[in-house]
């Protein structure tokens, strides 16, 4: 009984991981397949890099990727500033006017289906008659991503008591100096994690972007979606492999950095 039980859980864990990783791995493997029929392995000519070659030659996808990277960077930076302010206020200010409203508004977008957020922002942009494109998508993503940053920063600040900040102020530091010299270094891992999460969210978002974008501003997910609706495309497999590669390297680099600096890299506590 004891032996069987001890094998049961790891077996289920292994199956779970297989479920999570087989689709991703299959896409990576088939991105090196020479055949245009995605699921037929052309052993004679594979592995090949021709889909990567075609991908980099595909101006539509490359333009969309560039636009998405710009939006993601803009969004992540804005989200980190707004989210850090909100997280700091919620964790350190005790009771203040508007606290309940800020707490509610900064968590509501996290749980609301994206399609409602997208629709409501589009209707706002129509109501104020702005041209939709780069900026409207960036604003929409910032609104969602700042809420994730708020949660992460708030959780990190709650983990530290205020005595360090109080000590700095006892020694005569101004509130601003205290924030810059004491609080900011403490929450820097949370801010870095928040920036990366905001960047990834924006790069990945299809629903909100397709509601808030306008003519001429096709983001990468919108482009991929319109290609994929018509069937499986080998170039898209190549996009996936590159993305997994970049993410893998980033995650490994982040954990190595955390180990080297001896601090616990704050895993996103979402």
């Amino acid at each position: 009984m004891k032996i069987r039980r001890s094998l049961l859980l790891p077996t289920m864990l292994a199956f779970g991981f297989a479920f999570l990783y087989v689709p991703i791995l299959s896409m990576i493997v088939y991105s090196f397949n020479a055949s245009r029929l995605v699921t037929v392995w052309d052993a004679a000519h594979s592995p090949t890099l021709k889909w990567y070659d075609e991908l980099f030659g595909n101006a539509q996808i490359m333009d969309a990727a560039l636009l998405s990277l710009k939006i993601a960077a803009m969004n992540a930076t804005g989200a980190v500033i707004l989210g850090t302010l909100a997280g700091f206020a919620l964790a350190r200010f005790g009771r203040f006017r508007g606290r309940a409203l800020l707490a509610a508004l900064s968590t509501a977008p996290l749980v609301l289906p994206e399609i409602i957020t997208g629709l409501s922002l589009l209707l706002l942009f129509v109501a104020v008659a702005v041209d939709r494109g780069f900026w409207t998508v960036a604003i929409a993503h910032t609104t969602l991503a700042m809420c994730f940053v708020t949660v992460i920063v708030q959780a990190r600040l709650i983990d530290f008591d205020m005595s360090l900040e109080e000590a700095a102020m006892d020694l005569g530091a101004s509130p601003l100096r205290t924030f810059l010299a004491v609080t900011l270094p403490l929450i820097l891992p949370a801010i870095a994690a928040g920036w990366m999460l905001a960047f990834a969210l924006s790069l990945d978002d299809l629903v909100i972007a397709s509601f808030t974008t306008g003519p001429g501003a096709t983001t990468l997910p919108i482009r991929i979606y319109s290609e994929v609706r018509l069937g499986v495309k080998p170039e898209i497999n190549a996009v996936c492999s590159i993305m997994v590669g970049v993410v893998g390297i980033a995650v490994i680099a982040a954990s190595l950095l955390a180990k080297l600096s001896g601090t616990r890299g704050a895993p996103a506590r979402v």
Partner: protein, 308 residues
């Protein structure tokens, strides 16, 4: 101690300008880009559709006697509940979300438990393996399933080469594929809150149960399971709430004959250009999800306050 408190209060002085700005800037952003847009949706859901741009009638208008009149147009809501298509889509979405949540729990619970009971050194690695797919594109991970489930896809090819089936089983554009896609995409959302709950359990409770003669299965149902219920609730809501409004997965993997409500909303808006009905659909989705969302918020604020 007194000095400390005084200086601390200084920072938190209620009327300090800097302090007000710190909380006011994000609050203003959220009011402008979250609350007001939402109120616009609410407003338009009570408007009458027009063939104009924007395609809806204003709620407020000055009648010729210079009286401000408000026309609340309830027809959009009435329409939703009288047309079987909408009701059917709502019920189908709720069913898909509920079944997916249960499947996620069945797959995710053993995984979370297994990670929580692994050696501490291996826990972080295993946890990272759960989170890693979450950082790659959601859209591409859903797309990967098309390659697996297609008629000439990997699964059908494999089953046919093993002579288990004579001809491919049609799996793309089926209801089963929608479940596969949702469970696959949302599984990490179930595992993470479960793990963070299970990890905190005191192992000595299980040892005590064993000492008192309880077999492991009984110890699980009497000790581990009841203690893990907050994690189960959090994980279930994190899967259920977004699954109800899911748009991408059913559009890529699901049948076109049975639409989920998120797709209905988007079709009303983009295809039929009926903004009032699309807005009314959004409001009804929100009303349905209000209960689960409030439960989740309560749970989350309790977690945040319980943290040391």
């Amino acid at each position: 101690m007194m000095a400390r408190l005084r200086s601390f209060r200084q920072l938190l002085r209620p009327r300090s300008f800097a302090r007000t700005a710190v909380s006011a800037v994000p609050l203003a952003w959220l009011l402008l880009f979250f609350l007001i847009p939402f109120l616009i949706v609410l407003k338009i859901s009570f408007s009458e559709a027009l063939l104009a741009m924007p395609p809806y009638a204003p709620l407020l208008s000055w009648t010729h006697e210079r009286v401000l009149s408000i026309q609340l147009h309830l027809a959009n809501y009435h329409f939703l509940f009288s047309d079987a298509l909408y009701l059917d889509s709502f019920l189908y979405s709720l069913k898909v979300a509920a079944v997916s949540t249960i499947l996620c729990l069945l797959i995710g619970y053993p995984m979370a438990l297994s990670i929580a009971r692994a050696a501490p050194a291996r826990r972080n690695l295993l946890l990272m393996l759960v989170i890693l797919p979450f950082w790659t594109s959601f859209l591409l991970r859903v797309y990967a399933w098309i390659g697996l489930l297609k008629d000439d896809g990997l699964i059908n090819n494999l089953l046919m080469s093993l002579h288990l089936i004579g001809q491919p089983i049609p799996m793309v554009a089926s209801r089963v594929a929608v479940y596969v896609g949702i469970v696959y995409s949302y599984l990490p959302f179930m595992i993470l809150p479960l793990y963070s709950n299970l990890e905190k359990h005191d192992r000595s409770l299980l040892e005590a149960a064993a000492d008192l003669g309880a077999p492991p299965s009984r110890a699980f149902w009497r000790v581990t399971w009841p203690l893990s219920l907050p994690g189960v609730v959090a994980g279930a809501l994190l899967v259920f709430i977004p699954a109800v409004g899911e748009y991408v997965i059913p559009s890529l993997l699901g049948p076109s004959s049975q639409l989920m409500i998120g797709r209905v909303l988007s079709d009303e808006f983009f295809e039929n250009r009926d903004w009032p009905v699309a807005s009314a659909v959004a409001i009804v989705i929100l009303i349905i999800l209000l209960g689960p969302i409030i439960v989740f918020q309560r749970y989350r604020s309790r977690e945040l306050e319980a943290a040391p």
